[in-house]
Symmetry: C2
Subunit: 340 residues, 2 copies
Amino acid sequence: MTTLSEVARLAGVTSATVSNVLRQRGKVGEQTRQRVLDAVAQLGYRPHLTARALAEGRAPTLALVVSSIANPFYPEFALAAERAARAHGRFLIVCNTNDDPDTGRAYLDQMAGTLSDGMLIMNANLPMDELKKTEQRGAPVVLCMWEKPDAPPELPCIAVDFHEAGAIAGRHLLALGHRQFGALVGSKKSGIHAERYRGFAGACAAAGHRHPLQRTRYIRDTVEAGYQATMELLHAHPQLTAIFASNDLPALGAMNAIADLGLNVPGDISVIGITDIQWARVSRPALTTVAVPTDEAARMSVELLLALIERRSVSPVMQVTATPQLVERASTAVPNPSRG
Amino acid sequence: MTTLSEVARLAGVTSATVSNVLRQRGKVGEQTRQRVLDAVAQLGYRPHLTARALAEGRAPTLALVVSSIANPFYPEFALAAERAARAHGRFLIVCNTNDDPDTGRAYLDQMAGTLSDGMLIMNANLPMDELKKTEQRGAPVVLCMWEKPDAPPELPCIAVDFHEAGAIAGRHLLALGHRQFGALVGSKKSGIHAERYRGFAGACAAAGHRHPLQRTRYIRDTVEAGYQATMELLHAHPQLTAIFASNDLPALGAMNAIADLGLNVPGDISVIGITDIQWARVSRPALTTVAVPTDEAARMSVELLLALIERRSVSPVMQVTATPQLVERASTAVPNPSRG
DNA sequence: CTGAAAGCGCTAACAA
DNA sequence: TTGTTAGCGCTTTCAG
């Protein structure tokens, strides 16, 4: 480890001066500057980020709290968030809570303000008051994917209009001529995906087609759960011609279930999801879905968090991303007249 | 921010004592201990991890350098690595190089030894001598997925026998009766996947079936590249009955290409990959592949890195994971007699 | 323009 | 058992 003062000694100056040239703080004569730079190069000096952080009173890292980075949606978000953080000289620490509130709490307690200057929170099953508490202790927090722009939370957030995403999906299915829907909601009834379903059901109602509750399944947000629920749904309601899923993973599961039942997507049954994860492009048939602006949300989340950290902004703020967009691929088509 | 000395003042002791009770360093009387604990609770004191790191001369973080966390293989590895790191009180910083050596170098220069105690390196296109240099500066480095147990590198590593993985894939195809193979290698000829191909080709040769070079394609490690290459391969060599891919992503692309050609997997053509990423289970047909012990590799990588950091071990060390295992799913079957 | 000195919050000898 | 004293490596006033 070569330190500032070693560089200083070699350059025949004091460490304050070295610090000044390294941080471009003007007030250094050209020749000393050169001497210092030479010494830095000769010794291969690299600033000690931890020491700098302590002295500056700010950490060079941001934390991203997710339930599990292995959930296929998060890596894309994390990549964009890291890029945005790097653009501002910050590193990104990834924290997996596995949906365990205690784990989440532990991350907040240990890191917020002591190792990370701020926390990016993705759905990680953390109670609001816990988050507010860490914010009050001085470590900004931003909710990265708030689902209800109409109901701002008491914390800074980047909101995505998932209600509209659900509505877009519903309208697409309606426009194709579907009337008999099954719905897969990837959360509990009161959970995070409820808003998407309300958007979908609202679109149906607006078109004069009430969506019957018994054709809705509240499930876990996984391929397997989507598969299982679709099996049951189609068994109970053979007349269905379309499946709406609040997320792409259950939608993919639905497609597999339909195929295993010997039916064709979209020939017999259409399937639509929400998000547009990578798999959606790769599946056969490719999944029609409502794309969420992941990169934009990540970028906005980081920018907002930094603004909060640097007190250029004040909590609570809500910013809304661009509207989700229909991505029409191969899993939706007009209903099969011999069904429904 | 409440600090140690504030707690100390409230408890009527000195900060050294508070430090001692917090770090369980015995030598504290039971009553003072209780007073200190009360003060800690009352003030909601949380240790400042950055300050602690500086004082202890060790950082509480490990860094994981990958080309892109959005590559579907890495999140599973990252999840396991983070869990292992957490089990030892460390946090994990994720670094995406996007395969750009300059970015990788920047990470090494900035973080190694100054913000992270050690670096976990996944294929990130970093030159060996760069890595050796950072190790020599005192920040341990471990290569997380070395592909050649027979040729240990000059750095600590966790090796996976990818040669054998390729051989397993080859033997599986041969055992089913295939003789006309196409091969997709997800790297340059000299690249990271070459060993897998050598294992495959070796298995063919051992069975007396030379694999002709013109049926091999060196491509990028993506679904799209696999798709494209398979299209060309089947056009040029319509007699092929099986495709070996050095990774699951190109294998998935191959399956899509075959389907789009109006052929059936595995009825007309079998496809096998290597790794067993999540998608392999979800695709239809489900992908037969050679599973790599990802979790084990992640755990071993972290353990080794920590051992190096704590000088319980000395560089270079190579540890080999369990052998890859064939996971037979639905994308391989006996060849179609009407082909080949 | 450069140096001296204090201090970020914590740990770790060493004394008392 | 507890307090005192030095730092960890860097930044940042404030003098000179």
